[in-house]
């Protein structure tokens, strides 16, 4: 499974989110390859799951599961949404 963490510029928030995602999927025992990028790269990238702030994720069209977050700094929200994730 490939997870792509998306943010506006691929510089700040996505890197933080990336670290969080890594630690949570480890915890949940999910096997996945994870990378981060900005919105424009994400538009053309192939991945099974896209994660990011909800208004960013809503701008993505194309295939893949999309997980939009209200608060990207909220660990609980991220963990819950990753648990419910169905691929």
């Amino acid at each position: 499974m490939k997870i792509l963490v998306v943010c506006g510029m691929g510089l700040g928030s996505s890197h933080y989110l990336l670290m969080e995602v890594i630690s949570i999927i480890k915890e949940l025992n999910i096997r996945a390859e994870i990378d981060n990028c900005d919105l424009f790269t994400a538009q053309n990238a192939e991945a099974d799951v896209f994660i990011g702030a909800d208004y960013i994720i809503n701008m993505l069209d194309g295939a893949g599961v999309k997980i939009g977050l209200d608060d990207i700094l909220d660990e609980k929200e991220l963990r819950d949404k990753l648990k419910q994730m169905e691929v």
Binding site: G8, M9, L11, H15, E33
Partner: protein
């Protein structure tokens, strides 16, 4: 100043001993009181200082030492050797060597008494030294037979005897002086130990060395090569010794296969031309002629016309040497340029031909640097071992450590050169062309390994940065973090030179350190034992670490300056608010105007992507949008503004982030994230009145890391 015998011996201990030399050691060694030793040391110190050298140094850990270069040590030892033999006492190794020389030249058994008498040693000393001699001979696969009432005799082949004789004679005769000898040795007036003196009288004095030297010159022309000075001296001795021993009926007898292969050599053939002309020098025995040819084949060559290899059995030597270089490249994980490879091949080829003969005929070669190479330049020695394994498979020869060491020197040489690839430098100078020229000349004088790619004025530099250069040398103070910057005086002084030297030295070190590893290699290893969840980000971070030469990224508290913190401000809308943050960074030249434009443009297009939490926005754009240097600014607002975020508006804390590459800001960003994770901290930040309150909050978070 005349030195007593003991002084000389103490000095030799200090200069040569591999053990720690202190008063206790010297006391035991010379069987005198500690007081005597102290007095002796005082005298020695005076003697050394009379030579305008720094005096002896003493420390508990290292003992008594003289900290001078090896060349000066050698010179001092030489002065000591040149001192009149009456006051010059030999150390046990020298005595052992001299006894050996004496024994080799005696065709009958020699008694201990005779040696003691002839060489001026005490009988007891000789008995002790003979014990050491036996061990030495064993290492050379020879033995010493001792018979009561008859005496002792060396049992070895004539070839071994001659080899030992030549090695020892050259070692103790001090070959450096020989090179300048052009005529009559007797007139030189140099004083040698009685043993060397006797050997010279027997062997060298009857000859006009000049004639032999010019004969060897002719031979070198015919062979299209040039020997080193030491090789010439060795050859002179081999020639004379051959004749001398032959006339004493001690003819050499080479093994059949040795003789047959040497007879095929060009060296052997060329010697044939001189047999009639120089009957006084050459004997008509083919083994003797082959003996000389063998010494010609195995001695070090200084230069040789390319492609001249006469020996058919070595016609593949070039390919084999290329193979060795390939092994070296693979082992070091490097790729040499064509030019470097060419240079290495040329040097190695000169070395390889005689080396292969040496190994084939089992003629040892001394390598005084071997221990150094094996310890200090271990990577090159190890590489050379692998290359020599290939060599030994190809030519079916055994490669001794000494030879591996020499190959290691060639490898090391090219690597050190490779690291010395020119450093690209940009000069920044406001004082005009004349000053730049002076600066340039001075720099190039002091540092051969730099290349000045551009001169810029300060304003040009602020505009363009140092794109093509590795470092910036400037005569004005500049604020530039993406490349190392060194500020110097326009008329470079010694301090500046030292500063630059230090930088280049560190750079060379770091290059060596990181040379062998790439992020890919590390990832490959990590992957073997664990699961990597985010391979690409890991790779980026590793590469950034290597790029930073192990420097760690700056902390937020180190990056956030007072001038970049604006508290309790008024703003009409989000654009105003963002500009409050970016303007400070533009002022301090961390970012260009274009970065501010990009930030605003991005927010317009992507809407509120910068609003991460209630009250908090983190405006940023990409490094290529105009970042000169990693910078961060903090703005708090009296009244919140709307960024158009459905849930998190209004925004009262704005943190502008500008990073010059994708990774250098991550350490600081991590702290920012932790700061804004907690809404209470956000409250405190928004209500802070001073810069120091903000910094205090930041430091609390950083301390937890």
């Amino acid at each position: 100043m005349i030195l007593k015998e003991r002084y000389i011996n103490i000095m030799k201990e200090i200069l040569q001993s591999t053990e720690k030399v202190d008063t206790a050691y010297l006391k035991t060694k010379f069987k005198v009181s500690e007081r005597t030793i102290r007095n002796d040391l005082k005298e020695i110190d005076q003697y050394i200082q009379s030579k305008k050298l720094p005096g002896l140094t003493r420390s508990k850990k290292t003992g008594i030492r003289l900290d001078v270069t090896d060349i000066i040590k050698e010179q001092l030892l030489e002065d000591l050797r040149g001192t009149d033999q009456n006051i010059y006492a030999l150390n046990s190794e020298e005595r052992m060597h001299y006894i050996l020389l004496y024994l080799i030249m005696s065709d009958e058994p020699v008694s201990v008494n005779e040696i003691a008498d002839k060489l001026g040693f005490s009988k007891n000393t000789v008995v002790e030294d003979v014990k050491k001699l036996e061990i030495f001979l064993e290492s050379k696969s020879c033995t010493l037979t001792k018979k009561r009432k008859i005496g002792m005799e060396i049992k070895s082949t004539e070839f071994q005897k001659r080899q030992m004789y030549i090695d020892l004679f050259i070692k103790h005769f001090n070959i450096g002086k020989w090179a300048i000898i052009s005529g009559n040795l007797k007139e030189l007036g140099m004083k040698f130990h009685i043993v060397i003196q006797q050997e010279m009288e027997k062997l060298l004095y009857p000859w006009n060395i000049k004639t032999i030297v010019s004969l060897l010159e002719e031979i070198q022309i015919k062979l299209k090569l040039k020997y080193t000075d030491t090789s010439i001296n060795t050859l002179i001795l081999a020639l004379i010794l051959s004749k001398y021993r032959f006339e004493k009926n001690q003819t050499i007898k080479l093994q059949r296969f040795q003789l047959e292969t040497i007879k095929l050599s060009q060296e052997y053939k060329v010697l044939g031309n001189y047999l009639d002309e120089h009957k006084e020098l050459f004997s008509e025995n083919e083994h003797e002629r082959a003996f000389i040819a063998m010494y010609m084949l195995t001695n070090k060559i200084l230069e040789q016309e390319e492609g001249i290899i006469f020996d058919d059995s070595l016609k593949d030597l070039r390919e084999i040497t290329e193979g060795m270089i390939a092994v070296f490249e693979q082992d070091m994980g490097i790729k040499l340029t064509e030019l470097q490879k060419d240079k290495l091949l040329k040097g190695l080829m000169l070395h390889m031909e005689p080396a292969v003969y040496r190994m084939r005929y089992n003629i040892g070669i001394a390598n005084p640097m071997l221990e150094d190479i094996k310890t200090k330049y271990k990577i090159y020695y190890d590489s050379a071992s692998k290359a020599c394994m290939y060599l030994s498979q190809q030519l079916h020869i055994i490669v001794p450590e000494e030879e591996i060491g020499y190959i290691g020197i060639y490898f090391g040489g090219i690597m050190e050169n490779k690291q010395k690839q020119r450093v690209k430098v940009i000069l920044v100078c406001n004082a005009g062309m004349a000053t730049v020229r002076i600066l340039e000349t001075r720099l190039l004088e002091e540092f051969q390994d730099i290349e000045i790619v551009d001169y810029l004025s300060y304003s040009e530099f602020s505009k363009n940065g140092a794109q093509n250069a590795e470092i910036v040398i400037s005569t004005v103070k500049i604020d530039y973090s993406s490349k190392p910057t060194i500020v110097v005086n326009p008329l470079i002084d010694d301090d500046d030179v030292n500063k630059l030297k230090k930088y280049f030295a560190q750079r060379a070190l770091q290059k060596t350190y990181h040379k062998k590893y790439s992020a890919d290699q590390i990832i490959e290893i990590v992957e073997k034992y664990s699961t990597i969840h985010a391979k690409n980000p890991l790779k980026r971070e590793l590469e950034s670490l290597f790029g930073n030469h192990g420097k760690t990224d700056k902390k937020l508290s180190q990056l956030l300056f007072a001038e970049h913190v604006k508290l309790n401000q008024n703003a009409n809308d989000w654009i105003d608010a963002v500009k409050l943050g970016t303007k400070q960074l533009i002022k301090s030249k961390h970012i260009e105007q274009s970065y501010e434009d990009a930030v605003i443009e991005n927010i317009k297009r992507l809407k509120a992507y910068v609003v991460l939490k209630p009250y908090v926005a983190l405006p940023h754009a990409k490094p290529e949008d105009g970042v000169n240097k990693l910078g961060i600014s903090f703005v708090t607002l009296k009244k919140g503004v709307s960024f158009g975020h459905e849930k998190h508006d209004p925004v009262r804390l704005i943190i502008v982030l500008a990073s010059e590459n994708p990774t250098s800001h991550l350490r600081a960003l991590n702290t920012v994230i932790k700061l804004i994770k907690n809404s209470e901290t956000i409250d405190r930040l928004i209500n802070s009145k001073t810069y120091s309150e903000i910094i205090a909050e930041i430091k609390t978070i950083e301390e937890d890391d």
